[in-house]
């Protein structure tokens, strides 16, 4: 019964399920087995000695999702606000150790007021032990954090160290310092929702990877994600029966020839995935790049694709962070990466430069270079300048690089290039604008195509758009036993 009827009623009034209801909704029917139900805290100060906290405010156990085993913990807000004391933390670290040892995914449902102040420094020790294990397990087993209540102060760092963070509208709240502290110290007034609500983390901070309207929708997202990813870094994701893409939009009719006119890149992804299914990750953050999972011939594939519909698909600080982390995720968990490219370069602006677009942009280069999973690139339209190199080019060791006939691989776009290369001619012309247009056209004809790069072998093949799926599939088949070795090292120093 957790914290008793009254507390459960209060939880329901906030639109929240109880910890146990959440576990039962998420796991396969009758699959949950609980441990440490009888654990009690041993705190003696501030009247704690006379207080009994059921299960010490957290439920831990094992179960299955779509028949795949998982370890899970769920903080129980109805018991002392889900506050984290020593035994509460010990239960969590016990199930974390279990997950790591057994090589199964770990799911943490966070709903806690934070450290149990009465337990003092022992609470802090508890958090530290959790963070350490999150780091240890990173890249070994999938770690999923579900924020279904407050998650404040030090507590936010556990989700931040895990692979995927799920948030739900009006329920999730994450921040380091809450609105009341901010107001008293700094005089800034802001609501919890505006400071660290679900939308904020899905759209602005990039702390959340999946955003849902309800807990039920959130659980469906988790189940879907679990179906795409392997149990551990020693396994491949499970295969599903192959399906053809739906007969929706014809892939060859999606892309306008004029590189300045946008389209929705998701239409291309859906035209090549099994059943046109695509589980988009971080949909609302930096939407100028798209990342997510799909299947091709039943096997999981990670997609990284520029989105011309938003900010012309440019690379910037946020989109670089978003893509780079996803690439590293796929690489850690043996998921081949398909890159679809249509991007005019980096976003110009003082704000970008001062925000460190150099080190942020470098993350993509690092992530692609380092990744040893099969890497296939399809250049749909624009591939200019530094962005061309970054988007899994041959030079970063793409295994296969295909280009559509509409592809333009060039050191920069025709407009910019003409201004530089033909500066003198344009300046000295009788009608500079006319000359400029003429030179842009000249450059376009010579360089805005895939054949210059193809002549160097930087592109393996110019393909018909309608053959895209077949060519990627073949490339992935050929790459199945890919085996490359990086120099031995403790670990690299990626740009942060």
């Amino acid at each position: 019964m957790g914290g008793g009827e009254k507390a459960i009623e209060k939880q329901a009034k906030m639109g929240k399920l109880t910890a146990r209801e959440r576990i039962i909704s998420l796991l396969d029917k009758n699959s949950f087995h609980e441990y440490d139900l009888f654990v009690e805290h041993s705190a003696k100060d501030f009247g704690m000695e006379s207080k009994k906290l059921h299960g010490d405010g957290v439920i831990i156990g094992t179960g299955t999702i779509k028949s795949k085993p998982v370890c899970i913990f769920a903080q129980d807000f109805t018991v002392a606000g889900g506050s984290l004391g020593l035994m509460h933390a010990r239960k969590i670290t016990k199930i974390m150790d279990h997950a790591l040892k057994m090589r199964v995914p770990l799911i943490g449902i966070n709903d806690s007021g934070g450290a149990r102040i009465q337990e003092g420094v022992n609470s802090l020790a508890g958090y530290g032990e959790i963070f350490f294990r999150n780091t240890l397990a990173s890249g070994v087993i999938p770690q999923i954090s579900v924020i279904l209540g407050p998650c404040a102060g030090g507590a936010v760092y556990s989700p931040a160290l895990t692979d995927f963070v799920f948030v739900v509208e009006n329920i999730s709240k994450m921040f380091i310092t809450g609105p009341s502290v901010i107001k008293s110290v700094l005089g800034e007034e802001i609501s919890m929702e505006e400071l660290g609500g679900a939308k904020v983390h899905a759209e602005i901070t990039g702390n959340a990877h999946f955003y849902a309207q309800t807990e039920a929708e959130c659980f469906e997202q988790i189940k879907s994600l679990i179906s795409y990813i392997p149990r551990s870094n020693a396994k491949k994701a499970l295969s599903y029966p192959a399906k053809a893409p739906l007969k929706g939009k014809k892939v060859e009719s999606i892309v306008p020839v004029d590189p300045r006119i946008p389209y929705d890149m998701r239409d291309i992804i859906k035209s090549i995935t099994d059943g046109s299914d695509f589980l988009e990750v971080m949909e609302h953050f930096a939407p100028n790049i798209i990342i997510g999972f799909g299947r091709m011939d039943g096997e999981t594939v990670g997609f990284v694709a520029n989105q011309p519909m938003v900010l012309a698909g440019v690379l910037d600080c946020d989109s670089s962070d978003k893509a780079a982390r996803f690439i590293r995720y796929c690489d850690a968990f043996n998921i081949p990466i398909v890159t679809l490219e249509d991007m005019p370069g980096y976003l110009p602006g003082v704000d970008q430069e001062h925000a460190g677009v150099i080190r942020h942009g470098a993350k993509i280069l690092y992530a692609y270079s380092e990744a040893t999973v099969p890497k296939v690139t399809v250049i749909i339209r624009k591939a200019y300048g530094g962005g061309y190199i970054a988007m899994n080019s041959r030079h970063l060791r793409a295994d296969f690089v295909f280009a559509w006939p509409t592809a333009e691989i060039a050191v920069m776009g025709p407009e910019g290039a003409a201004n530089i290369v033909f500066r003198k001619e344009i300046a000295e012309a009788e009608n500079p604008e006319e000359m400029r247009q003429e030179k842009i056209q000249e450059y376009k004809e010579k360089f805005a195509n895939p054949y210059v790069a193809a002549a160097q072998g930087y592109i393996d093949e110019v393909i018909e758009p309608k053959d895209t799926r077949a060519r990627i599939l073949h490339a992935l088949q050929v790459s199945e036993n890919k085996s490359v070795f990086l120099p031995n090292k403790k670990h690299g120093i990626p740009p942060f």
Partner: protein
């Protein structure tokens, strides 16, 4: 959250692209060259004390006022030799971040 927005123009390397903006992009702040004769607060806080008066001549490093924030009394100092032109804050005033506190001029 993904409501259809009107297509707008974005210029990258001389080419004009039709595209949508993100909220973050629309809300970006534009850079202005800083004016070192204007001393702004670097953190929200309370003016605990003011040690100088207009027209007073000071040398670099002299303390102008105390700005308390995060339980710390920050000394705001003269960045170069010069003179106080105007003081824009009062003792015990609570001010936000990037608030103009003092105007100065070079010697």
């Amino acid at each position: 959250m993904s409501e259809k927005k009107e297509l707008k123009e974005l210029v990258v390397q001389g080419a004009v692209y039709q595209t949508k903006y993100t909220k973050k992009f629309e809300q970006r702040t534009f850079w202005e060259a800083p004016d070192d004769r204007l001393i702004y607060s670097f953190i929200p806080g309370t003016i605990i004390d003011i040690y100088v008066k207009p027209k007073q001549k000071l040398i670099e490093g002299e303390v102008l006022l105390l700005l308390e924030a995060m339980k710390m009394q920050n000394q705001v100092r003269m960045p170069f030799d010069g003179e106080i032109v105007k003081i824009h804050v009062k003792k015990d005033e609570v001010i936000p971040n990037r608030h103009l506190m003092v105007e100065i001029k070079r010697k």
